[in-house]
Structures are given as structure tokens and as C-alpha cells.
């Protein structure tokens, strides 16, 4: 049977200035996963490698390059699933893990559970020695600027609606 890998970098209104880098990123991820399978890796290992490649690429909203929530914090989610056994592992709301997909795989392989969240996921990551980084290192300067702009815009809209000049 021939190996196949397909990857995506997110469905949204990708602006022109991110278009070329996004396509380059998904091509690199597909190549990395496929090469791994050619040298004996399983489909599970291939999808983890491919997703790690994109988590490490700041052009994508995952791992490095993550967007910020309303409080200006990073909150990352990931899942991985093995079609052989229906085993699955997932994490949500982790803040300082550069490759959440690998933490999700650890949840699948090293616990009896399917999902760990927030501080429990981080505590588990520490207990098994998963790499941790400062959350700031996952955020690009461009995302900081976008978040600041978005935040000001939101407060501007609220001001309009709360004032006598409010309109839709």
C-alpha cells in the first residue's frame, strides 16, 4: 500500500502577505511527514511530525505564532488519534508548550484519559519532562500588534454603543 499524507494550515481569509509562506509551510510539513513514513515511521508518527513542523513555523496559528486571547495570553489546544485502536489524546488551554501535539500524544500513550486541560495538562507535561518555554516566546511581534489593534477596536465599539452616539 502506498503511503499518503495530507496537511492543512488553517481555513480562513489568509492575507496576501502570508500566502506564500503558508504554502511553503504546508509543503515542508507534508514532506517531513512523508519522508518519515518512507523510512518506516507509522501514520501516527508522520502526523505528529507534520504538525510539529507547522507548530514551529510562526506563520501558522499553533505553537509558535499562536494568537492571543482577551487577556493577552496564549491558550493552545491539540489532538492526535490513532486509527488502529481509536486511541486518542488531547490537551486544551496550555500556555507554555511549544508542541502541544506531542503533549497530546503523551496523554494518549501515558495516561488512561483522552483529554487534559489547563494546569492539569501543564502539571502532566512537567511530570514527563515535556519541553516548556516562556509563553512570550510563542508570540510574534506582529501578533502583539494585531492584538493591540483589535483590543482598541473592541473598546472603541463598546464606547460607541455605550454612549448617546451609539449605532450599529
Amino acid at each position: 500500500m502506498s503511503a499518503v499524507i495530507v496537511v492543512h494550515g488553517g481555513a480562513w481569509a489568509i492575507p496576501d502577505d502570508l500566502a506564500q509562506a503558508s504554502v511553503a509551510g504546508v509543503k515542508a510539513a507534508a514532506r517531513r511527514g512523508f519522508l518519515a513514513m518512507k523510512t518506516g515511521a507509522s501514520a501516527l508518527e508522520a502526523v505528529e511530525l507534520a504538525v510539529r513542523t507547522m507548530e514551529d513555523d510562526p506563520v501558522f496559528d499553533a505553537g509558535h505564532g499562536a494568537v492571543l486571547n482577551a487577556d493577552g495570553e496564549v491558550e493552545l489546544d491539540a489532538i492526535i488519534m490513532d486509527g488502529r485502536t481509536l486511541a486518542a489524546g488531547a490537551v486544551s488551554c496550555v500556555r507554555n508548550i511549544p508542541n502541544p501535539v506531542s503533549l497530546a500524544r503523551a496523554v494518549m500513550e501515558k495516561t488512561d484519559h483522552v483529554m487534559l486541560t489547563d494546569r492539569g495538562a501543564n502539571r502532566f507535561a512537567q511530570s514527563i519532562g515535556i519541553q516548556e518555554v516562556s509563553p512570550e516566546s510563542l508570540v510574534t511581534e506582529q501578533e502583539r500588534r494585531e492584538w493591540e489593534k483589535n483590543r482598541k477596536y473592541s473598546s472603541g465599539v463598546k464606547d460607541l454603543f455605550n454612549s448617546q452616539w451609539g449605532h450599529d
Binding site: A3, V4, A13, V23, V26, A30, A41, M81
Partner: protein, 134 residues
């Protein structure tokens, strides 16, 4: 959001999805990505899928499992993804995209948003796209 699906030489499938969420999202909001059957699903009996797009809509239709359900019912991979995305658009007005691979290696990358970067590699042949129709 990023994702991958694969079929290896032994006939095993897998999926993975990872995300940073939505800018300015409510603290503690979790979308579809880490939820089994929504952000991803894999079963050797049918195939694997990874989803992206409006998380709350994907959660409401359990998009990844819906795609595999249609594949189990005999639809081709591209048709299964298209039918599922159309259902999501019609029922909950959500846009998104998905990649899927069947247990026989039939694959698809489809989306209803403006763009989605994707790439597929099989038998040394790399296919990729960004805009609708590519």
C-alpha cells in the same frame, strides 16, 4: 489551526490537529480542535480527517466524525468532505475546511472559506493549493 492526516504502508491511518484558537477569544474558550470527532478523527475501518474553521460550528456538527460517517456509507473522500462542509454551512452557517484520507489512500482537501493552505504527498507526487479550485 494546523492539521495532518496520513495513511502508512501498513494500512494504518492517523490524524492530528493543533491550534492557537481565535484572537481576542474569551479566556477558557475551547473550540473544535482538541475535541474528538470534531477537530479530528481516525479509524482504520474508514479513514482519517482533520478540520479547521469556525470552531463552534464544527463542534455542533462533529465535522470530522460526520466526514468519516459519509465515507463509511460509501461516498468518495472528496464527496464526503464536500457534503459535510455543505451541511455545516446550511445548518449552522459555519465556514471551514477539512482534509481527509480513506483507508484505500483516496484523499481530499476542501474548504468553504476564502483560502486554506494545504499540501498532499503520495508516491513522491506533491500537490498543494491555497485558493478555491486549486
Amino acid at each position: 489551526t494546523v492539521g495532518a492526516v496520513a495513511l502508512d504502508c501498513s494500512g494504518n491511518v492517523a490524524c492530528a490537529t493543533s491550534t492557537g484558537g481565535i484572537r481576542n477569544k474569551m479566556v477558557g474558550r475551547v473550540g473544535d480542535s482538541p475535541v474528538i470527532g470534531s477537530g479530528g478523527y481516525a479509524d482504520n475501518l474508514s479513514g482519517a480527517a482533520s478540520c479547521t474553521g469556525h470552531g463552534e460550528s464544527i463542534l455542533r456538527v462533529t465535522l470530522a466524525r460526520l466526514i468519516l460517517f459519509h465515507m463509511e456509507q460509501g461516498k468518495g473522500t472528496a464527496e464526503a468532505v464536500n457534503v459535510s462542509l455543505t451541511y455545516m454551512g446550511e445548518r449552522v452557517r459555519g465556514g471551514g475546511g477539512a482534509i481527509a484520507v480513506s483507508r484505500t489512500g483516496d484523499w481530499a482537501a476542501r474548504f468553504t472559506t476564502e483560502r486554506m493552505a494545504w499540501a498532499a504527498l503520495e508516491e513522491e507526487r506533491l500537490t498543494y493549493g491555497l485558493n478555491p479550485g486549486e
